[in-house]
């Protein structure tokens, strides 16, 4: 099912569009630099249990990156403003890749409003051993190999976004990503300095063959948080919820206390 981002949130000249569905405790999904579409399935599934909000990050939604959006923390502040405006507390967050980084930036600023964090191969952490993959020099084929282990997913990735409108969204997303993560590359200085402020129970899910953020980053990130767990998945790249959906769902459902 295609996602529809019909609602808008505005704060001065800043803002974003989002999809919202379901009843119950609030759950925020923060997508990665690859865009929200790969979260359509999880959005539907989780909306049976939660009030699910999925923002379409500005600059990844087909529009040009707005001038105000210069750093990952700009999105973190904006989404905190929105949660506050909506009067939401005890928020569950599922953040993937860039979205996991945004979640981390939100959590170091306002840890008290979160109930659980699920960080799926999140960016933002400076590994003491190794570097994030140099994705900006990868060809499309190399990108498929670095992000996915399964041939089917690689083929799906290569076949996607073949028409011009999708290609334009893709290039704009890439440009927004570069603006936010180019330097320091995929690293959030504030997140690294203040990471111990995150006392929210946190679940990390990481593919052992992630070519963008090595699983070693996950071990370090997890070791810095007082209440966290890391699940490492075999035969899995950067997108565990697509590559190992069974293990992924079982893990987050238990952690988020989804009643079956």
């Amino acid at each position: 099912m295609a996602l529809k981002f019909e609602d808008k949130f505005a704060f001065g000249d800043m803002g974003f569009s989002y999809a919202r569905k379901g009843k119950g405790s609030p759950l925020l999904i923060l997508h990665g630099a690859g865009g929200p579409d790969m979260w359509a399935g999880e959005f539907e599934r989780l909306s049976e249990h939660f009030d699910v909000i999925l923002p379409n990050h500005p600059g990844f939604d087909g529009s040009r990156c707005p001038d105000w959006l210069e750093a990952v923390e700009d999105l973190a502040y904006l989404y905190l403003v929105a949660l506050s405006a909506w009067g939401l507390r005890d928020v569950r967050v599922v953040g993937h890749s860039l979205g996991g980084w945004i979640a981390g930036e939100m959590a170091i600023r306002s840890p008290q409003i979160f109930h659980r964090l699920v960080l799926v191969a999140p960016g933002g952490i400076r590994g003491t051993d190794g570097f994030a993959g140099n994705n900006f020099v990868w060809s499309k084929e190399e990108t498929a190999e670095q992000l996915f282990q399964s041939d089917d997913l690689r083929q799906m990735f290569l076949a996607a976004n073949s028409d011009e409108a999708h290609a334009l969204t893709l290039h704009r997303s890439r440009e927004t990503t570069a603006r936010l993560v180019w330097s320091p590359r995929w690293i959030g200085p504030a997140l690294n300095k203040w990471v111990r402020r995150i006392d929210t129970p946190t679940l990390f899910i990481w593919g052992k063959q992630d070519g963008l953020f090595p699983v070693a980053f996950g071990r370090e990130f997890s070791s810095l948080l007082p209440d966290s767990e890391l699940i490492e998945l075999d035969d899995c790249g950067h997108v565990p919820h697509l590559e190992r959906p069974g293990e992924y769902r079982a893990a987050i459902d238990e952690f988020l206390e989804v009643s079956s």
């Binding site: 900006f136 290609a167 440009e175 570069a178 180019w182």
Partner: protein, 388 residues
């Protein structure tokens, strides 16, 4: 028309089988051999060639900036210009150009250029460029900021040259609160500024502005019709947007050039070197050449469209597009006249060495061109046989 010899100073001892070793390009990912003796010899040889060009009476010599590639041994062109300042005694020295956004503080460039202007007693031309896409990978400067950093760096350099008191500048990327330039430029108010650029309309209109009137330079890697269109766009912007007629000295073209006694001899001799330049030295992946934001996303959609494999470019296909001046003296005179008359070109920058051309061949090329192309064209201009 003025004649400036352009030189890339390549490390002309590359392994042409780099593709068989799994490399797509000689830029950045090179694992090719580097021999310091060979490199030092290349610098000597090339500086001698440029000195020889000065002795032959060319109007000037030109260097430029590229990083981490055998294509050009000039990651710091100002260093080369410093060396040239002690050898080139008559002609001008043009740095085409220096990539402004890649440095943390453009005032260091303003200082170096002021030094060089004095070292040459005012024979310096300076080119301002953004740098090519791959240089954003190597410098780690955010490519999304490239355009805005360029204009801001230009403003800051210009301010330091034209304001003789302490300057303050608070830009988005650069800031200075306690700076006044010393030494100051030799030329008043500053060295002529050139803008080498690929045809970006915003840059053309900006360069042509009456407060600037910068020399707009086209490089060799576009078909003649495209080069002509870009240079005519500059004249049009001057006329229609800014209300004045651009002069020939505001237009330049750097073009690979080779002269021999006959067309056939010229093509035979130039072939391996020109084909190596276009196919090997210039080989690049789109991800390296176009990092995100370096050009607008709309342009990226077109650039990344799958195209039928073009295969290796031949000298014939390159000549057919008018991208080079190669042939007998008569042929090359005709090609130069065409650019002069159709475009109103005031600066021709023959690139007399390319690929792995040996120095004897380069020197003969320089000599023959000076005698058989430059001299007759200068005579025509002196006699005013054709309107400039």
């Amino acid at each position: 028309m003025k004649f400036h010899v352009f030189h890339f100073l390549p490390y002309a001892d590359i392994d042409l089988k780099f593709r068989e070793k799994g490399q797509k390009t000689l830029w950045m990912f090179h694992k090719h051999r580097f021999d310091p003796e060979t490199c030092a010899d290349f610098y000597d040889t090339y500086l001698d060639e440029l000195s020889y060009a000065d002795e032959l009476g060319y109007d000037g010599v030109c260097v430029n900036e590229h990083h981490q590639t055998p294509h050009s041994l000039m990651p710091a062109p100002n260093v080369l210009a410093g060396a040239l300042s002690q050898r080139i005694k008559r002609g001008r020295i043009s740095i085409l150009g220096r990539a402004l956004p890649l440095v943390p503080n453009p005032l260091s460039i303003a200082e170096e250029w002021a030094m060089l202007d004095n070292l040459t007693r005012g024979r310096l031309n300076v080119g301002m460029v953004r740098g090519i896409g791959i240089e954003y990978h190597s410098s780690n400067v955010n490519p999304v900021e490239s355009n805005r950093r360029f204009y801001e760096a230009h403003d800051l350099i210009k301010l330091s040259w034209t304001e003789d008191d302490m300057i303050s500048f608070q830009g988005k990327y650069y800031e200075c609160r306690h700076f006044s330039l010393f030494p100051r430029p030799y030329q008043d108010p500053h060295p002529p500024i050139w803008i080498p650029s690929g045809g970006n309309p915003q840059m053309i209109e900006w360069a042509a502005h009456p407060d600037r009137r910068y020399t707009y330079l086209q490089f060799f890697n576009s078909p003649y019709q495209q080069i002509k269109a870009n240079l005519l766009a500059y004249k049009k912007a001057a006329r229609e947007v800014h209300g004045y007629e651009a002069q020939p000295e505001q237009l330049g073209w750097a073009v690979p050039t080779f002269v021999a006694r006959t067309d056939k001899e010229a093509i035979d001799l130039a072939r391996p070197h020109l084909e190596t330049l276009f196919n090997d030295f210039m080989a690049m992946t789109p991800e390296l050449l176009f990092p995100p934001g370096y050009v607008p996303a709309e342009a990226m959609v077109q650039i990344m469209k799958p195209r039928p494999g073009a295969g290796r470019r031949t000298i014939e296909s390159i000549m057919e597009l008018g991208m080079v001046h190669i042939g007998s003296p008569e042929t090359v005179r005709r090609q130069a006249r065409m650019a002069r008359d159709e475009i109103g070109l005031g600066h021709l920058l023959p690139m007399m060495h390319f690929g792995m051309m040996p120095t004897d061949m380069t020197r003969e090329n320089l000599r023959l061109y000076a005698d058989e192309v430059m001299a007759p064209l200068r005579e025509e201009a002196a006699l005013d046989v054709v309107p400039a």
